[in-house]
Amino acid sequence: MRKVLFFLLLVAMLIGVGTVAFAQDVTITFWHIQNTDPGPELIQQAVDRYMADNPGVTVEVVPMQNDPYKTRIRTAMGAGDPPCVFPSWGGGPLYEYVQAEQVIDLTDYMNADDYVSRFVPSSLSNVTFDGSMYGVPVENTAIAVFYYNKAIFEQFGLTPPTTWDELVAIAQTLIDNGVTPFSLANKTKWTSSMYYMYLVDRIAGPELFASTANRIGGSFEDPAFVQAGEMIQELVEMGAFIEGFNGLDYDTGQSRIPMYADEAAMELMGTWQISTYLAENPEFYEDKLGFFAFPAVEGGAGDPSNVVGTVGDNYYHISSTCANPDEAFAMIQYLIDDESVALRVEKGRIPPVVGVSAMLTDPVLQEVIKLVENAGAVQLWYDQYLPPELGEVHKDTMQALFGLELTPEEAAQNQEAALAEFFGS
């Protein structure tokens, strides 16, 4: 009997201790994909400062790789066990989460103390649905620009083009001299989509795609989409793209190697590549790297100052199963407070906050931010804007279009058919 009593007492004590411990200890799980330098450090310093200021809250930081993350977050959500805080690129995939009621509406948090005015307005459009905000823009500003090898341009007396015809003429000159005009790694598919997005924007303006993707009047069979396809295939037929581009992988650097080796002169790519150049080949960055904005298309209706890309690149969200959303939001705020912003700028990032341009010292980044600030509109990547199913169709279509396996008309019809099926009309 004594033994039993003793045992019961012990159990009661353990339970008591456990409850007290749990009551004090709030744990926030936090997944992110900033796993290449300087990403982990940028995240960790903010989390450390948050935990120092908030004893009793433990933040469990889980860094992940980009592509495996996309699968893991979906599996976790499907199983009803997502992390408290997780990243996304906004757009269509985020909207899936919103509709599935897997993320918390952050509108009230964002409007408290006018916190929202801290951010560049265009950074919020990708996470705002039906007037509610679902994410905090943190990581970077990334737009697609043409990088070019200054040495090659100098050698053949070329200057950065301002119109598409000039760009085609440059390509012809380079081909005549045995240099590949454009490097492209299109196993990755979203890489070639950049040409298409820009051409459509230059030809017809951003409204066409918006009305098409949301099925409110626009259509992929609009002449602008077909014309963009034709202009791309013209370049492909000229031999303007690097040999075998449909089998080259962006993630293993197969589009950058030809640039480094002076065998290709240009590449259309996101501005995240600036820090990649800096890390992979500082000499190339110093001596040869130049860039120019996507040129205007003669007679096009689109404003040539428009850019394709994302302002905010990696937003953070709070899942609806999170037990401590207040703490989670406070933690996210540390990721983009003044100290974090200063550190990000120092590491070559452009955080999407108002007044960041004054803080930038790197001449290349200053040019980039000028393009963004002067942009009439920022078109989010199609594959992120569209619902995931359609994003995949778009990417597959791009690979086939560049591979000359679909005519521009067929490419347009393919995407239109997928859209019609998705919307059920």
Binding site: K189, E243, G247, L248, I257, P258, P387, P388, E389
Partner: protein
């Protein structure tokens, strides 16, 4: 007719297929742990895939819409799936046609080389591809196949031939990856065949020699027939492996360009995950399971007379 003087054996009771004796219980007890693991990680997921294939579900939504057999109807009319199926058959055919003879040739070479140092080195070297992870092999060969910088094109161009964009052309990509698959798996069959060749008794070789058989005749008429059971196992393994193949295709081409190297498994992954179409992805997975099951069982059935002890 003489009377039966030998006492009749007591007729054995007709064996029931199942009795609750000690012996059966022991078997069950020993099998239980692995049966449990199989049930949780193999049987349940397979059944659950079949179940999911009856829904329209994006993989995250709490609500799944039952759609009956709509996903299966769509599958039957899906050109890309059938293209993937045909590609799988190509992989099966090429794998068996290349890996089996190559593996056997290498095994015979190794067996004849015996324990000499240089052959032991060869044996280790030939086994290297098996030891590397598929992902690193895939990345390695992406560079080897690189149209501008890869060693293959550089070599071809050096001897005056035209380089190809191996992974970028629709009519080449699948074959380019299959070549790497063969390179990776041949050593596995080499080891398998070598083990079974070694288990053939030395007496038989001596006997064959005394009868005047040449080496080639020994292998062709004596050794090969004795190890045909291993060859059969190897062919079935290769068949199943090729039908459910995923790794190198995913790393090297992701099924592209334009689905030219799509396999059933890569198509399943693409539908279930990047496209947020878990229902249809599950239908593809279940179809893959059915196809592999049918082909593997028929292979077992039609080759049963080839079974041997080694």
């Amino acid at each position: 007719m003489a009377t039966q003087i030998i006492p009749k054996r007591k007729a054995a009771a007709p064996r029931k297929w199942f009795t609750w004796d000690e012996y059966t219980l022991t078997i069950i007890l020993f099998l239980l742990p692995s049966l449990l693991l199989m049930a949780v990680f193999v049987v349940y997921p397979i059944l659950s895939s079949f179940h999911l294939s009856l829904f329209e579900w994006n993989g995250i939504d709490p609500v799944r819409t039952p759609v009956g057999l709509a996903n299966w109807e769509r599958l039957l009319q899906d050109d890309i799936f059938w293209r993937a199926f045909r590609n799988n058959l190509t992989v099966v055919a090429l794998s068996i046609m290349f890996q089996m003879p190559m593996g056997m040739l290498l095994a015979i070479m190794m067996e004849r080389g015996g324990r000499r140092f240089i052959f032991r080195v060869f044996k280790t070297v030939y086994f290297f591809p098996m030891l590397m992870s598929s992902v690193s092999i895939g990345i390695l060969f992406k560079y080897i196949y690189d149209p501008s910088f890869g060693i293959i094109n550089e070599t071809l161009e050096a001897i005056g031939l035209e380089g190809q964009s191996w992974l970028g052309e629709t009519n080449l990509a699948l074959f380019a990856v299959v070549a790497v698959i063969c390179w990776q798996y041949t050593p596995f069959y080499m080891i398998l065949f070598l083990a079974s060749l070694n288990s053939v008794s030395e007496d038989l070789r001596d006997a064959a020699r005394i009868d005047g058989a040449r080496e080639f005749q020994y292998y062709w008429y004596v050794a090969l027939p004795l190890v045909r059971g291993t060859v059969r196992t190897a062919i079935i393994l290769s068949l199943i492996g090729s039908l459910k193949y995923f790794d190198l295709i995913w790393v090297m081409t992701e099924g592209g360009p334009n689905n030219a190297s799509e396999l059933m498994a890569t198509y399943m992954y693409k539908k279930a995950f990047p496209s947020f179409d878990m229902g249809y992805g599950s239908a593809v997975a279940s179809a893959l399971f059915i196809i592999v099951m049918i082909l593997a069982l028929s292979a077992f059935y039609f080759s049963r007379r080839l079974e041997t002890e080694v």
